[in-house]
């Protein structure tokens, strides 16, 4: 490749400047932030010198919010205002969670279909609560690194659907973070191990966290991380182990009246017992019971009996993921353990039995994901000049459309490598029809009702034609983050139909903007400042990219065209110095319009060169 080093758009041609980047593991129980310093990934410690921040948010008073251990400690006496395991609620509808209401100490609120919680600070949705955790991690990072972060990589379970990914990204935006990429947790873990040991072959990543279980089958070869298949359960984890213990404890004490507070006490005790049994064979406990107290003891065999069905579920998912990857269990070269729940001896033992080998546990299972994310953030932000890793991810669940009779027609099957784009043609069934509704679903089942509704799209502005006359080409594109984008075009007239997206379990752009505004005191001025800053950054990127393109491929252009581009560049350069965000935005658009053709030419040339360059190298 060395013979053809053309500066690609976006790859800086200026001398290298180290940019600050961080990897964030936004976990159900704990969250971590890590960065690469002097070539090594390391966890950044919080103000209490702990590597992990408890994913606990407490709304203390109208204007005070507590995050982390102190919030967790308060959970016992202020359960209603202390949100734990908020990740389970991300991208979820009110109706989906309402059936668990009895077991939750919160006042659930239906926020136009979305789940939200009534707190001392008013109604808070899971995106806002997660943003609080992210802000804390953001603070830890900027404090350690003494500067603003250029970007972050945030990890999500591979099993997360579109709504859950979008919610995570929205939370980051609310916390003022620039997301370079959402990375699947198991991929991050493999990255941490892969780069350390230079492994090649098929790797299974078994990730049992607090609230989610993921199994991913990856192929690692010469710097390429290829996700072959993923599976799991987005509602199964260590919390369920705790829940099982709570059930057992309640049986022992015979207590039926359960206040939010006592429920929380049971839960904390359950977690402590579980942790003790990872090392000891037996653990004793005392529980207050009315005016009296209850003394008991909990042993390994009882614990293992309780969780055996849950562990079995994870093993079944492992088997089917391996099958989806087109492999046999004995073809798996190594097994990586991720997540605090993999410390449970029964889990390790059964995973070892299934795969016929001892799983890898050399990197702390709580930290491995954040470390991998930091490594990837460092690459994406541009601190590593050579692109020696390539992460090819797949879409975890099939995308489909509702058809006649409440059935789903799959358009993008699960485990398809992303990014991916699929076009589907629709036609009108009435004379003069100008609008059309499309319902997008995610899941593997045949009936609409059994899948998860992703979004409803309404196409407007279809030119009136006889029935069947209009051909509307709808393109579904899933980007590298696993997020869906939809565009539509009427083919005969070329009219681009406008699309109105109604995410079934997500927030609209306006809602997010108003959340951002609402969280700031001098809202309007801040918003304008933020917009100006964003446009200035984007202008810088455009200027750099186009200048680099002109320098390397200017010969592709006619004199006339080149002059026009340079004129627009000069104009953008000038606007960028000013204070008018809107004007900068318009200037960027003009540059983009005048370079569309040029960009296409370069793309063609670049494709030819990408392969040609290699051949020259090989000779």
């Amino acid at each position: 490749m060395a013979l053809l080093q053309i500066a690609e758009p976006g790859q800086s041609s200026a001398p290298h400047q180290h940019k600050l980047a961080a990897g964030i593991d936004l976990g159900t129980t704990n969250s971590l932030v890590a960065t690469v310093r002097s070539g090594e990934a390391q966890i950044l410690l919080g103000s209490d010198d702990q590597p992990m921040v408890s994913s606990a948010v407490r709304f203390v008073s109208a204007d005070q919010t507590d995050i982390g251990q102190s919030a967790l400690d308060a959970a016992v006496f202020d359960a209603e205002n202390t949100i734990l395991s908020v990740k389970r609620f991300m991208g979820r509808g009110f109706a989906e969670i309402a059936n668990q209401a009895e077991q939750l100490p919160y006042q659930l609120v239906d926020q136009s279909g979305l789940l939200a919680l009534q707190t001392r600070q008013g109604v808070k949705n899971p995106v806002e609560v997660s943003a609080e955790i992210l802000k804390r991690l953001h603070d830890i990072a900027t404090e350690h690194l003494a500067g603003e972060l250029a970007g972050v990589v945030i990890t999500v379970p591979a099993y997360f659907d579109d709504a859950q990914r979008q919610a995570t990204k929205d939370a980051a935006r609310l916390a003022g973070l620039n997301v370079l990429r959402l990375l699947n947790e198991p991929t991050a873990a493999a990255l941490a191990y892969g780069l350390d040991s230079g492994q090649e072959g098929v790797v299974a990543v078994y990730d049992l966290g607090g609230g989610t279980f993921d199994i991913s089958i990856l192929r690692l070869q010469k710097g390429v991380f290829e996700v072959l298949a993923t599976g799991g359960n987005s509602a199964l984890g260590g919390d369920d182990f705790d829940q099982a213990i709570v059930g057992w404890l309640l049986e022992q004490t015979g207590e039926t009246e359960r206040s939010a507070q006592s429920l929380r006490e049971y839960k904390l005790l359950a977690r402590r017992l579980k942790e003790q049994l990872s090392k000891a064979e037996q653990a004793d406990f005392v529980l207050p019971l009315g005016d009296d107290e209850f003394r008991g003891s909990f042993d390994r065999a009882t614990f293992e009996n309780l969780i055996q069905p849950l562990v079995r579920k994870t093993l079944l998912a492992c088997k089917s993921a391996v099958r989806d990857a087109g492999l046999q269990l004995d073809e798996v070269l190594s097994v990586v353990m991720v997540g605090g729940s993999t410390r449970v001896p029964l889990v390790r033992q059964q995973v070892a039995e299934l795969f016929g080998q001892e799983p890898l546990t050399t990197i702390d299972p709580d930290q491995v994901v954040a470390l991998g994310a930091a490594i990837q953030a460092n690459v994406l932000v541009g601190n590593k000049s050579e692109q020696d890793t390539l992460l090819l991810d797949v879409i975890p669940l099939s995308l489909g459309l509702e058809t006649m009779g409440g059935l789903v027609e799959k358009i993008i099957p699960r485990n398809t490598v992303i990014p991916v784009a699929k076009a589907q043609e629709f036609t009108t069934f009435k004379d003069g029809q100008t609008a059309m509704a499309i319902h997008v679903l995610q899941g593997e089942r045949e009936l609409v009702a059994d899948n998860r509704s992703l979004a409803r799209f309404e196409l407007h502005g279809i030119p009136p034609m006889p029935a069947g006359g209009a051909h509307i080409r709808v393109t579904f594109q899933v980007d590298a983050d696993g997020l869906l984008h939809v565009t539509a075009q009427e083919k005969s007239s070329g009219v681009v139909a406008s699309i109105e997206v109604k995410p079934s379990y997500g927030l609209t752009d306006e809602q997010i903007m108003s959340m951002i505004t609402g969280s700031m005191q001098h809202a309007k001025a801040d918003m304008q400042k933020r917009m100006l800053l964003e446009q200035q950054v984007e202008a810088g990127r455009v200027l750099e990219a186009v200048h680099a393109a002109l320098a390397s491929d200017g010969h592709l252009l006619e004199m006339e065209e080149r002059k026009r581009i340079e004129l627009h560049l000069a104009e953008l350069q000038q606007q960028r110095q000013g204070q008018d965000g809107e004007a900068i935005k318009l200037a960027i658009e003009r540059v983009n319009n005048s370079t569309d053709q040029f960009a296409a030419l370069r793309m063609d040339q670049s494709i030819r060169n990408a392969l040609k360059g290699h051949k020259v190298d090989e000779v």
Binding site: L380, L392, Q477, E538, A545, A599, I607, L611
Partner: protein, 173 residues
């Protein structure tokens, strides 16, 4: 630029699978959106489209049936939207018999182990033969060869469907 040109491979049915994946990875290394995380919005959008196209091209050429269909499309024969009825009674008879076997396996799980293996073998043999004929027909590079290939491809699609259904039944167990 068609998919064969994209990967710089000869426009034929026979294909060097190792070279295909090597070129695929090379292109993805260059165009994957991860290379553009810091780029301008337009460039990021473009890289997503490009990477999606490369992925689609790779999947199309990788699978023999899709490759054959694409090859015919390049030669002006589009199988996607055709509504042609099938005119081969012997073949249809054979398919019906295979389908009956499949139904038997689906409804009577006790004694299916043998049946299943038998069906698998039959499917494999049928497909193997058709595949060979398909390759030969496509190599002719003639109008008759192409028409012949199209008809073989239609038959192979029947087999493919059966194969998928059989795998689905197995997975349900």
């Amino acid at each position: 630029m068609n998919y064969f040109e994209l990967f710089q491979l000869p426009q034929r049915m026979e294909l060097d699978a190792a070279l295909l994946s090597q070129h695929y990875l090379q292109l993805q290394r260059r165009f994957h959106p991860d290379n553009f995380a810091n780029a301008s919005e337009r460039d990021r959008r473009q890289s997503v489209q490009q990477a999606a196209l490369i992925n689609d091209a790779f999947q199309t050429l990788k699978h023999p049936l899709r490759r054959a269909e694409y090859l015919l499309q390049c030669r002006g024969i589009d199988l996607k939207h055709e509504q042609q009825s099938f005119q081969d009674p012997v073949f249809l008879m054979q398919q019906m018999e295979l389908r009956e076997q499949l139904a038997e396996i689906a409804t009577a799980p006790e004694q299916t182990q043998v049946l299943q293996q038998q069906l698998e073998q039959e499917l494999q043999q049928g497909q193997q033969q058709l595949h060979n004929e398909l390759s030969q027909a496509l190599e002719q590079q003639s109008e008759t060869g192409n028409q012949q290939a199209a008809s073989l491809l239609r038959k192979l699609k029947f087999f493919d469907k059966l194969q998928q259904e059989l795998e689905f039944i197995e997975q349900q167990r």
